[in-house]
Point group: C2
Chain length 434, copies 2
């Protein structure tokens, strides 16, 4: 159990309560080129390199041989130490920040170390937390798959015959995963203006149907040798933690390019993730059952409990260039048919090697109602309907200058929230080719 | 022009003539844990770290500030120096090995450096030449696309409407790219034994339709910032060199999983590449026109010359566990509708960032005849026909113990071949899950 109070002043609505302790990579004003690990707590970050250098880990003897991982520019080395170590370090930091800490000399009463290691968050900048090896995007959001399938094939045939047997996924583009706050340029590409024409002739154009996909991302802390699957019972040991993700999508480019090998340029111009990796342990209290699957699944996907997804309240805001903000979706991380542990078991069942730093996306998370959809394609019913915004504006898809901000938070008790912070990006106009 | 003769004895049928000078990563018996760059020449490799340490580059002053790249365990740092540097180094090494070298003191008459740097190839081991960032597999083999499309939709609709407009590609799995010689384990997975059943219920099974895909791979030496496309006129500057590739494919797993997001586990259990990167410059003399495209393509894909693919004679051998070898295909690298420069222009047109070490696959290369097909699926006509092997054996797909060896070679003149060596892998039986 996380201790409930800290000697540090943490506002009751903070995403980064003492029960969270998420990990990230920062630079600070004093050392802008030195990326290093940190944890977020309230309105502060604890610079772990500085904390270690100031003997902050002196009361955690099991970690003393691993301090070098805190001088790395990514979390990969820390993650690779494995979940028991993440747990020890997180619980140790919770103790250090606790009102009742038995080591007040380490930080609470140590003005020097507080000054060097405990930095106001607004004076730091976050960076990609992991060096991403491979990025895989799944399609585990049943309601999204059903909604999109209904648009194209009607409700009776909305889901493909494989959908409830296979955690469908595809290989994404690791190089285009960017940290929250990075501007996203509208892609140019081939689009088919008249799908009924014969022959079909594409037009070169900036994307006209630029969309979002609200997802959860899962970072892996370790993986498997090629040829040796990860059994589902051990899959949770491979999970480092979670982030929010916006898998920006160019629907018109996708429609023309995706047959027969799947989405390509429609998905590789930018995928935004939130900065702070919420450890799997921090989400334990918020376990929830995944969506019911009446289909008999194969043994390698069977789990011994149903509560293998998380009750995370998710929100999507759209802010116009003029500054008007509308919450265009409120949904929940429970809306998944497959858990990340099932995704890992499936991904490796044929022998594919997974590794520290791999990023898995959940697929778009939508509910079943009107205000709880994870993509604009669903909100506008395939382009038929306007999405109403504050300030008398409407959208079908994103305009240049629009900002999308995703937030995710667990827990109902002020002072004990476990949140992800923000995952945000603003659309820049397309490159003009000369 | 490459000088035509070397003081080193190089057999006339060698893939690694003085006109080639391909780059790779080796270890040797003396230093098994020290991966380092080398070039292949005849039956030898020149250990570039040792060559540099022994002042081998003393007559190439422009390179003297870059020698540290030759102590790296991959070629990424060397590649990132750019094509003008690759060209200088290759031409310098050709001069050093030339009969008429003006620097005989550097290697030819330097018994000490010959001993330390010029190693018999059979005493060395090759490793993955690059740290692969992202791997993308294209589908530029027109004949393959047509042959496979014909099986499923008949010849009139064999090619999708987008095929001749878009260099179709999908994101592959970088972590499963392995060096020639690595065993490939038959994947387990979900397959549909009776595609006509209703409802469709998959079976868990070792793949029963394990196939090859004969491809060329292209390594990139540099890339682009996110949001800034690589114009086709500059795309060749991003190419480091080429390898042979076997994109092992599980056809039965693919058939069940690939709708709607494309191939996944059917392709991520292993992709084999040859060890030696043949530089783009070495292939210049073997430029050839790509396959004709009567379709009007968009400007960003237009090239100012047609000879942007290469005349590479390709062969595929299947060797059974009993040791009988049959050449099951002879085809040519010219059988592409799109060049790698077009693939790069397309890949980046929406802003996707490409980078040093990225690997691009051509897609399966097939001719139009019977003996020149790049996959067993085409040879067996979707499972209908036996592929005849030496020793009275037949195959439809691969059996455990089968070895596939791809070779590629350019040029018709003994003593002046530019070849890729071998790309080989042996099938191991599937994991038995307990």
């Amino acid at each position: 159990m996380a201790p409930s109070r800290s000697w540090l002043s943490i506002s009751a609505d903070s995403h980064f309560s003492l029960g969270n302790i998420p990990f990230g990579i920062i630079t600070s004003r004093d050392s802008q080129n030195e990326k290093r690990p940190a944890v977020a707590i309230g309105d502060y970050v604890l610079d772990l390199r500085a904390f270690a250098a100031g003997n902050g880990f002196s009361a955690l003897s099991s970690f003393k041989d691993h301090l070098s991982v805190l001088s790395q520019p990514t979390l990969n080395a820390f993650a690779a130490l494995g979940r028991p170590v993440h747990r020890e370090v997180r619980e140790y930091l919770q103790e250090i920040f606790s009102d009742a800490t038995s080591h007040p000399d380490i930080l609470k009463d140590n003005a020097g170390l507080k000054k060097s290691a405990l930095l106001p968050k607004h004076e730091t900048k976050t960076h990609l937390p992991m060096q991403i090896g491979d990025y895989t995007d799944f399609y585990a959001g049943l309601n999204h798959a059903f909604n999109v399938g209904t648009m194209f094939r009607g409700p009776a045939n909305a889901l493909q015959p494989n959908y409830k047997h296979v955690p469908i996924g595809y290989h994404g583009r690791a190089s285009s995963v960017v940290i929250s706050g990075t501007p996203i340029r509208r892609p140019n590409g081939q689009i088919l203006l008249d799908p009924t024409a014969d022959p079909k002739v594409p037009t070169f154009s900036p994307c006209r149907r630029l969309d979002i996909e609200l997802e959860l991302g899962c970072f892996m802390c370790n993986g498997n040798e090629m040829g040796e699957p990860i059994p589902i019972k051990k899959a949770a040991d491979s999970i480092f933690g979670f982030v929010l993700m916006n898998d920006w999508s160019a629907r018109d480019i996708q429609m023309w390019e995706y047959v027969p090998l799947g989405p390509f340029n429609s998905k590789n111009f930018g995928t935004t993730i939130s900065a702070w990796v919420v450890l799997a342990d921090a989400l334990e209290p918020f376990r929830a059952p995944k969506l019911a699957n009446e289909t008999a699944i194969l043994d390698y996907l069977k789990e011994d409990r149903e509560d293998t997804v998380y009750d995370i309240n998710l929100e999507v805001d759209l802010t116009t260039a003029e500054g008007n903000t509308t919450t265009i979706s409120k949904t929940n991380g429970k809306n998944l048919l497959w858990s990340f542990t099932q995704m890992i078991a499936h991904h490796s069942i044929g022998g594919c090697p997974l590794a520290t730093g791999d990023l898995l996306g959940s697929g778009t998370i939508s509910g079943t109602g009107e205000g709880d959809l994870g993509s604009m394609l669903e909100m506008n019913q395939a382009g038929k309907k306007d999405i109403m915004l504050a300030g008398m504006e409407v959208r079908k898809f994103l305009k240049d200058g629009d900002t999308i901000t995703i937030r995710g938070i667990c827990g109902g008790e002020p002072g004990a929230y476990v949140g992800f912070g923000e995952c945000t990006g603003t659309i820049k106009s397309a490159v003009v080719l000369t």
